[in-house]
């Protein structure tokens, strides 16, 4: 379902835009406003990160957002209510992004059932490699939800093919080594890497980690199907407030 949505959107736009928020940062109310603003500005799909105390794959900006959300007292139940609310109200697909312990403690099947009932489309769980994902994959399959897996520049061709067999919706290609929010140089190297990803899977490709402005997205046009804006939107909200977000997102897509 997610894959066909992406396919039909790509008939209208050359490259789609996926954005990311940490639920409860800076507050639940602000998260609500950010999501609405992003959707109104034409974002094609969104990641809602459920905060975790040990966000090992994230860089300083998102780590801080996770901590602040937890310090504000945000619970997993509140995050799931939030996901259901926005997924039902807004016409774009929503995905959860979180670490595996959140699913594990909630109960993987129960979590996935809840996702289905809440009209969520899929999930990105960066510390759950396919080797450890049997239960999660089965539950996602039952409900026709998309488990989004990750490619990295260090992933071998053979492993990319193996991952493609269990992935659904799209594949999230990490642009470089390192954590979220660091500088990425958009060069021939990334082009070659995306060609390698394209050979390994028929699924659409999203590229994230360090995508920050219009020229980055311009570079990705024709190479990736979805550009992911994560840390940069968070920085913008921190520096200029939610009001600046709408124009920023609209401008990226011009």
């Amino acid at each position: 379902m997610l894959e066909s949505y992406i396919g039909s959107r790509l008939n209208e736009k050359k490259i789609l835009l996926m954005t990311h928020i940490v639920i409860g940062y800076p507050s639940l109310e602000a998260s609500r406003e950010i999501v609405r603003t992003m959707a109104a500005a034409g974002v094609d799909l969104m990641e809602l990160q459920i905060p975790f105390s040990e966000p090992i794959a994230d860089g300083p900006v998102i780590v801080k957002a996770n901590q602040q959300a937890l310090a504000n007292g945000v619970t997993v139940d509140q995050c799931l209510d939030f996901g259901r609310e926005v997924a039902r109200q807004l016409p774009i697909p929503f995905l959860y992004m979180t670490y595996y312990n959140i699913l594990f403690k909630y109960g993987v099947e129960r979590f996935v059932d809840h996702m289905k009932a809440a009209d969520m489309q899929g999930a990105i769980v960066p510390d759950l490699p396919p080797e450890e994902a049997a239960g999660y994959l089965a539950a996602m399959k039952t409900h026709a939800l998309s488990p989004i897996f990750i490619y990295s520049p260090t992933t071998s061709d053979a492993r990319m093919k193996t991952i493609a067999q269990v992935a659904d919706g799209f594949v999230y290609c990490v642009a470089r080594k390192g954590v979220t929010g660091d500088q990425t140089e958009f060069s021939q190297q990334i082009g070659d890497y995306l060609t390698r990803c394209r050979t390994a899977t028929h699924l659409p490709l999203a590229l994230g980690f360090g995508v920050k402005d219009k020229s980055d997205i311009e570079f990705l046009r024709g190479k990736a199907d979805i550009a992911v804006i994560g840390t940069q939107a968070l920085r913008l909200v921190e520096d200029q407030g939610i009001a600046a977000l709408g124009n920023f997102i609209r401008d990226l897509q011009k």
């Binding site: 090992i56 780590v63 897996f149 990750i150 990295s152 080594k177």
Partner: protein
């Protein structure tokens, strides 16, 4: 797709994709080393030339007489270079780093013992070295920070999260996902993603191998009970592994902090406060809330102040092979004080947990029984922490006077 590194229901490798290739390489080098008898020989040579191995087995005659039960022996890991069993693991991993051709090592540290050990290893092997240390620990372990820096390491205070050991581990992983081409992460305990629990336990097994041989040579028999403190679990895995196949009772002693009922402790296996979870790349018992968020832990001993525990020990607990007990901060201070006055040895606060529990059980055992306590580290290098723990007025006065000299 093969699940790797499981011990019963625990362990695994919950890795971000970017690190999978790095772990494949590490596992390959480790397996080669394990199957190469020359490697272990070289390792033992290195440890005997650089780190006082084999460490002695000390008969604690005075404590034995005092308690009037089992005979008490102490395995002296405190006599390793840098004053703790941590040296066993870091020198072993140093040999692997050389095999992989990497030029930089990073490590997390809580009390600072593992950081200092890693910094000495890096100096000896000629590696660049960065140590991540929670800001809280940097404050309470300044002497170790001083030594790491003198040894040429860069110490990075970690200001995220609870600013202690687990946060230092997260930050080390973040460095690693950026610099894995040149850098090896020297994880300090038998936790983390596969192959770390197995690999660290393998290097630490030198403790148990020696202790077993020493008992057979000297007493012609094995101990009845072995006590070891458990933070991440590496010294416990090390000493226990010498006796897994024997009729020897193994007791892991965790930090009960201000009491198991207080909520302020770091007991994962002997309290009902912990539950199974997945974090920092592995599945084990964690001190976490119902949402799966890690909780704050407390121990008088920074080296035991950790939310998780070796997956191998979680499995051994479920199988009933190792018994887990707690020792409170105040029991630990008493045991440390008694050990110093009766035997003239100075256990680290971490190790003193094992002593505290052994002292409770020794009187109830018979004179035919033998107890082995693993003294994983020495306390005299942690003089600031121990002086605070003893609340020693003369020491405080000294520090006040010393501070005045700096102001002058």
């Amino acid at each position: 797709m093969i699940k790797r590194g499981y011990y019963g229901n625990f362990g695994g490798a919950f890795l971000p994709e970017i690190l999978v290739a790095t772990f494949d390489e590490l596992e390959g080098v480790f397996n080669d080393a394990k199957n190469d008898p020359i490697f272990w020989h070289d390792y033992e040579q290195l440890m005997s030339n650089y780190s006082c191995r084999p460490t002695p087995l000390t008969y604690a005659e005075n404590l034995t007489r005092l308690f009037g039960g089992a005979r008490i022996f102490i395995k002296r890991e405190d006599l390793n270079h840098t004053g703790a069993h941590k040296a066993n693991n870091v020198m072993g991993q140093g040999l692997l780093v050389r095999r992989m051709g990497k030029t930089r090592v990073i490590a997390e540290t809580g009390a600072g013992q593992h950081g200092v050990a890693t910094a000495t290893m890096a100096a000896r092997f000629g590696f660049d070295c960065t140590i991540y240390m929670g800001e809280v620990d940097v404050e309470r372990q300044r002497p170790n920070v001083f030594w790491m820096e003198q040894l040429g390491a860069t110490v990075v205070p970690v200001t995220d999260g609870t600013r202690i050991l687990k946060d230092a581990i997260n930050e080390a992983f973040r460095d690693w996902v950026t610099h894995m081409d040149t850098t090896h992460y020297v994880l300090g305990t038998a936790c983390g993603p596969h192959p770390f629990p197995e690999m660290v336990s393998w290097f630490q097994s030198i403790i148990g191998k020696e202790a077993r041989r020493q008992f057979l040579d000297r007493e012609g028999r094995l101990p009845s009970r072995v006590f070891a403190c458990v933070g991440g679990g590496s010294n416990a895995m090390g000493v226990f592994s010498g006796f897994f196949d024997d009729d020897v009772e193994l007791v892991g002693v965790e930090a009960a902090g201000r009491g198991l009922d207080s909520g302020e402790h770091a007991s994962r296996l002997c309290s009902s406060d912990a539950s199974i979870g997945v974090a920092q790349g592995y599945k084990t018992y964690f001190l976490q809330d119902n949402d799966g968020q890690m909780r704050e832990t407390h121990s008088i001993a920074a080296g035991l102040d950790y939310v998780g525990v070796s997956p191998i020990l979680s499995d051994l607990k479920e199988k009933g092979r190792v018994r887990f007990e707690g020792a409170t901060d105040s029991e630990v201070i008493d045991a440390l004080s008694l050990t110093m006055k009766k035997e003239g040895v100075i256990p680290a606060l971490e190790s003193a947990h094992a002593f505290a529990r052994a002292f409770k059980e020794a009187p109830k055992m018979s004179a035919d029984d033998i107890i082995l306590i693993n003294q994983s580290g020495r306390g005299d290098k942690d003089i600031f922490t121990i002086a605070d723990a003893f609340d020693d007025p003369k020491w405080k006065q000294f520090i006040i006077e010393k501070a005045k000299q700096y102001h002058a």
